[in-house]
Symmetry: C2
């Protein structure tokens, strides 16, 4: 492609997803039309599937790249694994736990919610106790709830589930954590990981990204009743994903070719980057998150997340100081060229706002300067 | 955006979708990150919904723009409108009729197929007779079956259905016809129209585009049993689409922002184009299709579609002449810089190949010269 393509000045997008996208990835999203079964595309799709496994340190997961919003991943887990009457437990840290529970119910699950206090995750002891009371087919963890910015200890919780109920499927909602928080799919014993393209991964929205363990695939394949749903049914996608991974074309539904080029570009920038390993990427997210949170604390601001161990590394939820209204502050920040997000947790949504710091904004902060621009602007708008 | 963006020379994509995309639309697909609830995006989304109605001459349809492949539109129709045990009739002209039937079955429909002969659609008389035998909740028409290039008389068939069974829902699969064939949604009495972004519409793949009549929405809203499926459930999308159309933000699942910019750009190029009205666009597709088909006929080539009234205007299916194998011809054409598609109809897939001529390739043929390049190359490769 001949191109002097460059994003002109545009408002800095600092919501917890979609996030800023690099020129390189945006340009890949403008790739000329290519057949979805052409050798060049098949190679890119196959490579992307392999890179997705690397991203979560997995050798055995079956990755799925499917046209859809992140939400479609919930349907994938529910439709393919739940049968009517199955018990499911949602470890719930906000809005996205509520809705994930609703999705599981639609597919016939009896859903229990184990709710955290607002701004916290659920302590391991409490999860252990709950798991003593009832057998579950599936237990879900929202790794980072985008509505609250609460980080759950996915590794610790998965261990508790595996120990208490070895047969329960561990489903990790990583929509707001994959590529900004460390996830070790195989080692932690995750069965289904759900994500999307537009957050930590740093591509445009439009891809539902899911990883399934061999155990999950086998439970899907040995269902007693057929899975409901046609488009989301893994039976149709597994042969397609396997073919692409082996560099062979296959067809079920037309993949979003340009988005796959964009995904491939961003995955390579994470996993084939001599200047920044995956480990360093996670360290950078931690470092910048700590710096950002410390700064706003130093101005006397409080966070919705009120224990350090529950602080997500890709976003921060900030309580409005007394006398400050969101309906005044956020437009002011927007006027200064930065877009942050309003509150989303039903009970307290008017009391806080959300700032995303993931991907480009973090990894290329030294060049871009997004973080200090963010801090400076928020501070100025508060004064 | 500052940009001297230009697609470099790339193989001419002449399959029946995805198709060639204009620089303008590709560049829109590289739009910088924008919040899905920001005023600028809400306006673009809302406008796109209105333009989608114009595209099919509808005042009353409820349009849906949802992240997903075209296939997801089948799930939308099936999941939202079918209840277990409902009768559905598929007027079947190829692979995509077979699969649409499978999708309806998954959602509990008793599906009958009224199969055409290969290369033909089903005559109206035969449809009339079939509709006398059994009551149907839904009758589906594949407007152009991408596997065979057969065009069905959607207007005539819809009239027959409405007359024979006024309560049956008329579902038109327009994945391979919207924006390359005339569709009058309201006037023809269509209840659900299903399409996708990557064919006649000329955007990248990744959007499931659906239009539903007031009657279809009302049948959905008055179901006896809840619709299965969470992501595809119109109950969640209707308020979102209505809000965007009224220029208000709303949230259910993150829309694929860049693809919506691309969609908006291509829709405006069709509907706000002083040099080419929508009517002229359809005329151009007819004219070029006739020219293309006449040329190949003049070389002694036969089409899979063997009656003129069943010839699609956006694609042509060509039988291999005696002694020519697809496994030799298609790679030869590809080597010459043009990508055409292999056969797809189960029974005859090795006997023909498929050429797409939709959108850019047609509307800007005078500048691009795609059609004569196509003809010249196919002819050279055959000799």
């Amino acid at each position: 492609m001949t191109s002097a393509f460059k994003q002109a000045d545009h408002p800095l997008l600092a919501i917890p997803g979609p996030v800023e996208i690099s020129d390189e990835v945006l340009l890949a999203n403008a790739h000329p039309s290519v057949s979805h079964v052409s050798p060049s595309f098949v190679q890119v799709f196959g490579e992307s599937l392999k890179l997705l496994k690397e991203l979560v340190y997995s050798k055995s997961a079956q990755p799925f790249i499917i046209s859809g919003s992140g939400t479609l991943g919930w349907d994938q887990a529910a439709s393919n694994l739940i049968e009517i009457g199955d018990n499911a437990l949602v470890i719930n840290t906000g809005y996205f736990g509520d809705e994930l529970g609703n999705c599981l119910s639609v597919y016939g699950a009896n859903v229990d919610h184990l709710n955290s206090e607002i701004g916290k995750s659920v302590p391991l002891d409490k999860i252990r106790e709950t798991l003593k009371e009832k057998k579950y087919k599936m237990v879900t963890i929202t790794h980072v709830d985008t509505s609250t910015g609460v980080l759950s200890d996915a590794k610790g919780i998965a261990r508790v589930i595996r120990k208490s109920q070895p047969n329960a499927l561990v489903v990790l909602d990583g929509v707001c954590s994959v590529a900004s928080e460390l996830i070790k799919f195989d080692e932690w014993g995750i069965d289904v990981l759900i994500s999307a393209s537009q957050k930590g991964i740093g591509a445009p929205p439009g891809l539902s990204l899911v990883w399934a363990s061999e155990r999950a695939i086998s439970i899907h394949e040995n269902r007693k009743t057929p899975a409901s749903g046609y488009y989301v049914n893994w039976k149709r996608w597994i042969p397609v994903m396997k073919a692409y991974e082996e560099n062979k074309p296959a067809y079920f539904a037309t993949p979003p070719v340009q988005l796959v080029f964009a995904l491939n570009t961003t995955l390579k920038s994470m996993l084939r980057n001599k200047d920044c390993s995956l480990e360093k990427r996670f360290e950078e997210h931690k470092k910048i998150s700590k710096y950002f949170k410390k700064e706003i604390q130093s101005w006397g601001l409080k966070q919705l997340v009120n224990e350090e161990r529950y602080e997500a590394n890709g976003m921060t939820t900030i309580m409005y100081p007394e006398g400050v209204k969101g309906s005044e502050l956020l437009p002011k920040i927007a006027k200064s060229g930065i877009v942050v997000g309003g509150g989303l947790h039903k009970q307290v949504k008017d009391e806080y706002f959300r700032v995303g710091h993931m991907g480009e904004t973090v990894v290329n902060d030294q060049i871009r300067g997004d973080i200090n621009k963010l801090l400076r602007t928020i501070q100025e708008c508060l004064n």
